[in-house]
């Protein structure tokens, strides 16, 4: 069985997969990859089944080596894999020889890169998922060595590389609590440029900009929230919930990102400008 040795984990590298649905009644968040599109692309590019575990690397820095040859890919940002110092192309599948040092470079655009190897990582399932949930403290930790699962025999598809966001416009559907805000506040949401705060993480993308004024000032009883929810705390500064969001929130959610916009939000770096646009309504 091939084993990966972690030489350096980088600033924030965690196991992620499709997430941990079905346990909300026990207070367990869904978690999973913050950029679901990039996560799925990484697995598809190395021929893994959907749901295989990958490593989510925030701001690069990961260095690993394998005791056998593996196919590997990095998606999500413009960071690349270097093999013994030789850089590959963005989202290019590379064949890594046994003993070679693979490193994830620093992205210049985007934030979270997804490192997949053919077969996937053999780490324990916790409540049906291999995702590390930083908020709930559930899921496998990245140790110094990790076994790989044997690959299945599917063919490898061709690389398709999506565009990367710098400044972004995020499409949202209003609700569930847009009626808790003034009409002017909703207009502000769709006209203002917000700036991504350095306090952002996989729980929430925190934005700074014009405050959104409430039409109702009573306290909202806590209610379930979703990935992509745009929650407005008393400061009026929006927080966009990401994959590791809590199960419930106590402040009104003015709008919810479309799933594609939630993937875009995962790659927004501190300092980037964020705008919101109303998505075409589907039902």
């Amino acid at each position: 069985m091939t084993v990966m040795t972690v030489l350096r984990p980088g600033p924030l590298t965690v196991f992620k997969d499709a997430g941990r649905p079905g346990h909300a009644h026990q207070g367990v968040p869904p978690s999973g990859a913050v950029d679901r599109g990039a996560y799925r692309r990484a697995n598809a590019l190395v021929g893994n089944p959907p749901g295989a575990a990958i490593l989510e690397c925030t701001l690069g820095g990961l260095r690993v080596t394998f005791d056998g040859p593996v196919l590997a890919v990095l998606t999500g940002t413009d960071a690349v894999l270097t093999v013994d110092g030789r850089p590959g192309d963005v989202e290019q599948v590379v064949l890594v020889p046994a003993g070679a040092v693979v490193a994830v470079s620093q992205p210049r655009q985007g934030l979270r890169s997804y490192f997949a190897v053919r077969g996937g990582f053999d780490v324990p399932l916790v409540l049906g998922s291999r995702s590390k949930d930083r908020l709930a403290g559930i899921g496998p930790a990245l140790g110094s060595s990790v076994r790989l699962l044997p690959p299945d025999q599917s063919d490898l598809p061709l690389s398709v590389h999506a565009g990367l966001p710098g400044d972004v416009t995020l499409e949202v559907d209003l609700g569930p609590r847009d009626d808790w805000f003034t009409a002017a506040a909703v207009q502000t949401l769709f006209s203002a440029a917000y700036v991504a705060s350095p306090a952002s993480d996989s729980v929430g993308l925190r934005l700074e900009g014009p405050a959104l004024e409430r039409a109702r000032t009573d306290e909202l009883p806590s209610e379930g929230v979703v990935r992509g929810a745009v929650q407005i705390p008393p400061s009026g500064q929006p927080i966009v919930f990401q994959a590791d969001h809590p199960v419930t929130g106590g402040y009104p959610v003015v709008a919810v990102l479309t799933p594609a916009a939630a993937d875009l939000a995962a790659q927004v770096r501190p300092g980037a400008r964020v705008r919101f646009r109303r998505a075409r309504l589907v039902d």
Binding site: H25, Q26, G27, G175, E223, G224, V226, T248
Partner: protein, 203 residues
């Protein structure tokens, strides 16, 4: 009457009048196991229904939920969980003072109540318990670390901290019961609908 609120493309937020109605709707949804529903989050007057958009849609869920018969069954039919408590919490005297009763009366009131887990959400394994005759404010200054097993009161709720965590609840005691254990089939000891009896035990 269930009101449906738009909540993105992968969920529906169903709003009802009060906690009892939310628990009844939650029980009916669990019973129904609607295709494409991947998670349910009951709360004080809502149930969030998370769905798999490759299987169903918010519109289909709204139609299916409208057709459910809700409220025929008592939602409070969960298992009874007995939790042993040593009532020596640092806020016991403050709680007694706030309520104008003695610490012994606080303990009698807490052990005498038929508590029900209304909903979770604060942390894995945490349950908001209702059914007691309490209404106490949170501490003005939250503690930075509360040990796992601490039994607290806040507003009309009681609860047991499943993990060491920060928190602002008034602590009246502690339990040796393991509230969260990933090696159990159901890691959370308290899940919505469970009934809870607290029992005073010596330190």
């Amino acid at each position: 009457m269930t009101r449906f609120l738009r909540c993105g493309r992968e969920a529906v937020l169903a709003e009802v009048d009060d906690l009892d109605a939310a628990l009844a709707l939650y029980a009916a949804l669990r019973e129904a196991s609607l295709p494409g529903v991947v998670d349910l989050v009951p709360a004080a007057r809502t149930v969030l229904i998370r769905l798999d958009p490759s299987v169903t849609s918010p519109r289909e869920i709204r139609v299916a939920v409208s057709a459910l018969s809700v409220g025929s069954a008592d939602p409070r039919q969960g298992a009874v969980v007995e939790i042993p408590v040593v009532y020596d919490g640092p806020d016991l005297a403050d709680v007694a003072g706030h309520l104008g009763i003695s610490p012994a009366d606080v303990i009698a009131r807490h052990t005498g109540a038929a508590w029900t887990v209304a909903f979770g959400g604060f942390a894995p394994g945490f349950g908001y318990l209702t059914g007691g005759d309490f209404d106490v404010p949170r501490r003005t200054s939250p503690r930075t670390r509360i040990p796992a097993g601490s039994v607290g009161l806040a507003g009309r709720f009681s609860g047991v901290y499943p993990h060491d965590s920060p928190g602002g609840w008034q602590l009246i005691g502690s339990t040796s019961a393991t509230m969260w254990d990933l090696d159990r089939a159901e890691p959370a000891l308290l899940v919505p609908g469970a009934r809870v009896i607290f029992k005073a035990v010596p330190a």
